[in-house]
């Protein structure tokens, strides 16, 4: 599988950015490659969830072991509330039905081999903080240890927001969980030597996407000398963004 560096080099050659003073530098193109990869991945995830083909997304699931906090707040504290939760260890894709969370299970390493493994037991059911009350009203849906729920919300800690997952029905004896996440890329740093993580048949749409982004960057007009259009030559053609067919591979979710 190619790396970000290889894809970027390919596009830079195609665009003619082969010299040191080229209009676009490698870091800028690299960033656009990452945007394209992210867009294609989220397209794939969403499409496969919609048609119910979960296994096509399997190679994008990352598993984590996360520690749980059981927060028993003192009565006089009004800035926090009682809850069990963990904070997501990574940013995840925003998909239907909390689809960025592939699964949550109890971490049970004590189960002997040959028995159903922990990952095959006790699924956590997705809910929201606003809807969780309805489940407590149904005898067969009430949160309990064998029927746990989770609900996501942002929690402001100091000046930062945590991507928090609240848990319901989980015993305070539980200290860790096994979670599977569709991890979204981290834009704060880009490793050129990292593999892009896309199947080969999506390399063509990726290349086209990045070239389109580059074309768009080049179209941003230079400083206009006059704002009434007199800086244009007569009949000068104003370049517009390329029109794209609905049947273009970029538009399709492949």
């Amino acid at each position: 599988m190619p790396t970000y560096d290889q894809i970027t080099d390919d596009i830079m050659v195609a665009m003619g950015y082969t010299h040191d003073d080229s209009l676009r530098n490698k870091e800028a193109v690299l960033y656009n490659v990452k945007l394209g990869v992210d867009k294609l991945k989220s397209q794939q995830l969403q499409k496969n969830k919609e048609i119910g083909d979960y296994r096509r997304n399997s190679d994008m699931v990352s598993t984590f072991i996360v520690p749980i906090t059981h927060n028993d707040v003192a009565d006089e504290v009004v800035s926090d509330f009682d809850s069990s939760y963990f904070d997501l260890p990574t940013a995840i894709y925003s998909l239907d039905h909390d689809g960025g969370v592939s699964f949550i299970r109890y971490l049970r390493n004590e189960i002997p081999f040959g028995c159903p493994p922990a990952v095959a037991l006790t699924p956590f059911t997705g809910a929201s903080l606003a809807s969780i009350h309805t489940f407590y009203q149904s005898a067969y849906q009430r949160p309990q240890s064998k029927r746990p729920y989770f609900a996501r919300a942002k929690a402001k800690i100091g000046e930062a927001y945590k991507d928090r997952v609240y848990l319901f029905g989980v015993s305070t004896e539980i200290k860790h969980l096994l979670v599977g996440l569709y991890a979204a890329p981290d834009y704060t740093e880009i490793d050129p030597d990292e593999e892009i993580g896309l199947p080969p048949h999506l390399l063509m749409p990726l290349k086209q996407m990045v070239i389109d982004l580059e074309r768009w960057a080049l179209q941003i007009p230079q400083e206009r000398l006059k704002n009434d259009g007199r800086d244009f030559e007569p009949n000068q053609i104003v370049r517009t963004e390329r029109q794209m067919s609905l049947n273009n591979p970029i538009q399709l979710d492949n």
Binding site: I51, H97, S102, P123, T125, G126, F135, A139, Y140
Partner: protein, 249 residues
């Protein structure tokens, strides 16, 4: 009545239902929704067939007011008996008297009593004292209000139909003869809940499952028919009752 003894775990139903809906991760509604739908389906099937037969015994209380089992949906019979934990010595039928009620002490209210009796109902005596060889009770608000004559016996036995599962809120099992019907019920309920997300696909699912649940040849009425038909043993016994016990057809 081919009740049989074969039952399946609830998971058999839920797995089949979620696979047919392409929701094996239960990511959309969550597994508890399917469990709840399965329980509702089983309760509905029980209402149609009364398959969940149970018995219940209790001592006759001093105040002759008895709270009936919480999961009683239909009563097959009520009997009074005396005896030990092992042996039943004497027993009789307890009749239900319309609107009979009392407060735990002496006397009672009933539809047919005293001089102002309901002429449409037969009564032995005009005064309040009930005949001591007739055992009856009022039934109101989930409680039995038994006549003083019931004190002749020590215990009460009730044969009844439950909910379809032992305890509401607990896990349950599905009888083999209604397996497909309950699966279709669960799929139908889940498809209704998810229809907005994928109406083109789910409208067809709902239509198919409504056919299964409502048409005479669908899985629901097939299951009811299976439960209610006589099995070979029943047919043999009917023959024996009819021809050997002196009753001609």
């Amino acid at each position: 009545m081919p009740l049989g003894n074969a039952t399946f775990d609830m998971g058999e139903i839920l797995t089949a239902a979620s696979q047919e809906l392409r929701d094996p991760e239960f990511g959309r509604l969550g597994k508890p929704f399917y469990v709840s739908a399965c329980q509702r389906g089983l309760t509905e099937m029980n209402s149609h067939t009364n398959f969940y037969k149970k018995t219940w015994q209790s001592s006759i209380p001093e105040n002759l007011i008895l709270e009936l089992p919480q999961d009683l949906t239909e009563t097959d019979g009520i009997y009074l008996f005396s005896g030990t934990d092992c042996n039943i010595q004497t027993s009789t039928i307890l009749f239900i008297k319309p609107n009979m009620w009392h407060q735990g002490g002496e006397g009672y209210i009933a539809n047919n009593k005293g001089k102002n009796r309901d002429e449409l109902q037969w009564s032995l005596k005009w005064n309040e004292a009930p005949p001591n060889h007739i055992y009856f009770a009022g039934l109101r608000g989930g409680k039995l209000y038994m006549s003083p004559s019931c004190r002749t016996f020590e215990k009460i036995h009730i044969a009844y139909t439950g909910l379809g599962m032992e305890c509401f809120g607990e896990d349950f099992r599905i009888p083999h003869w209604c397996r497909e019907a309950i699966t279709d019920f669960v799929i139908h309920r889940a498809a209704l809940a998810m229809e907005r997300e994928d109406p083109q696909f789910l409208a067809r699912v709902i239509q198919r499952k409504e056919n299964e649940l409502k048409s005479p040849s669908g899985s629901w009425y097939t299951a009811i028919g299976r439960y209610k038909r006589l099995d070979k043993k029943g047919r043999y016994d009917t023959t024996a009752y009819t021809f050997r016990f002196g009753h001609f057809p």
